[in-house]
Amino acid sequence: MMKTPTSSFIACHDCDLLIARTRLQKGQSLNCPRCHAKLFHARLNPIERGLALAITSLILFLPANLLPILSLSIFGQQQSETILQSVLSLYDGGLAIVAAVVLIFAVLVPGLQILLLTYITACLQFSIAGHYLRQSLNLYHTLHGWGMLEIYMIGTLIAVIKLKDIANLEPGLGLYCLAGLIFTTCLTNSLFDTQHAWQMVKQRRNSGEAQP
């Protein structure tokens, strides 16, 4: 059969080196001997942990977007800011493209990533058929690196420093939710990866073929 050779090897995604497949202990990782790319990490319960993190992120996402991140007071006047308001202000200022960029990278992509992760991990954890599992995993893989919440956060801190001479600034509840959301996103990136999910999809398909 054709299946034996392809299943006994793996290839490096960065340098295309062909490597014999080895069994990894839980927690171990395999690096490419030639270019040192991380090829596989046998993570502990990635699906379960991914689901827990996805639900936490889901809870934090709305307040992080709707509650004020910063409030500014100057000469008795007050102004507060949310992520969506910064998008609107850019749009009103005539920069529709920049407004769209901020909306996509700071709101839509992170939100979509959380929704996709919830769907993927829930389907795999509870053995739900999940008709869009394949598309969701593909999209999740493509979106990797395009969510920029942590950069938005650092941007907020720099804005605070730029303004602190001329005005009083107060952190809002949204800022704490945003910090929490960034923390869960970082944890998700280190505890969950799509490779493990794809393996489960493959296993499911193979067992489905075996017993029609």
Binding site: M2, P5, T6, F9, I10, A11, C12, H13, D14, C15, D16, L17, L18, R34, C35, H36, A37, F40, I69, L70, L72, I74, F75, Q77, Q79, S80, E81, S86, L88, S89, L90, G93, L95, I97, V98, V102, F105, A106, L137, N138, G145, W146, I151, Y152, I154, G155, T156, I158, A159, I161, K162, L163, D165, I166, A167, Q195, W198, V201, K202, R205
Partner: protein, 214 residues
């Protein structure tokens, strides 16, 4: 060179799906992966052309991004537009060295290094420079990892514009330099994304096949 003893998947008749990391036979080129349904390519198609195109576009946008004002601060009706560089100089002159350095690195140094890094990679492949493949791979990884952080200035502008809207008292309005700057960041990210690192290592492949008698 120790890389000579290694064999790539393509030379052995295999093809890796980069989406789901499953291995296929090379004959399945241009077909769809049976696991994730993405089209299979042993190497990304038109990778160098696309990478060049995005890089050249980003170089073009780099000039308006630095020359046009990114925002205008007005207080009691007076105020001047500021560019990326004048914003950094202002931070330095106020004594915020640390934060000035962060903005300088994120807005000017990183975009420049990204463009130079991608240019080095593309030129070295075009003219077959005899440089270490491992170094080039690390250069690429650096460019890829650091790339998104230059979006920092865009978010600073977004926050400032939303916060400082106090009518005639004080207001900040965005400038078109920001659009060009966002374009630089996105275009350099796309240039890196469309670059197939496996081409760096393919340079060493021909010597392998020449010595390999079948």
């Amino acid at each position: 060179m120790s890389t000579g003893e290694y064999k790539s998947a393509r030379q052995q008749g295999f093809l890796l799906c980069r989406h789901c990391h499953s291995l296929h036979s090379l004959e399945q080129q241009h077909q769809r992966c049976d696991v994730c349904q993405t089209p299979l390519h042993s190497r990304m198609e038109h990778t160098l052309q696309r990478s060049w195109a995005f890089l050249i576009a980003s170089v073009i946008c780099f000039f308006p991004a630095n020359l046009l004002p990114i925002m205008t601060f007005k207080s009691f009706g007076s105020g001047a537009p500021s560019t990326i560089m004048s914003g950094i100089i202002e931070l330095f002159s106020k004594g915020f060295w640390g934060i000035g350095l962060v903005v300088l690195v994120a807005s000017i140094v990183i975009p420049c290094l990204k463009i130079i890094g991608m240019l080095t990679l593309l030129l070295s492949l075009k003219f077959h420079w005899r440089t270490s493949a491992r170094q080039k791979t690390w250069l690429y990884r650096g460019v890829e990892w650091v790339g998104r952080w230059s979006m920092l200035d865009i978010f600073v502008i977004a926050v400032l514009v939303a916060l400082v809207q106090l009518g005639s008292l004080a207001s900040i309005s965005p400038g078109h330099g920001a659009t060009a700057f966002a374009a630089v960041v996105i275009l350099t990210m796309l240039s890196a994304l469309n670059f197939d690192t496996r081409l760096i290592w393919d340079k060493y492949a021909p010597t392998d096949t020449q010595h390999h008698d079948t």
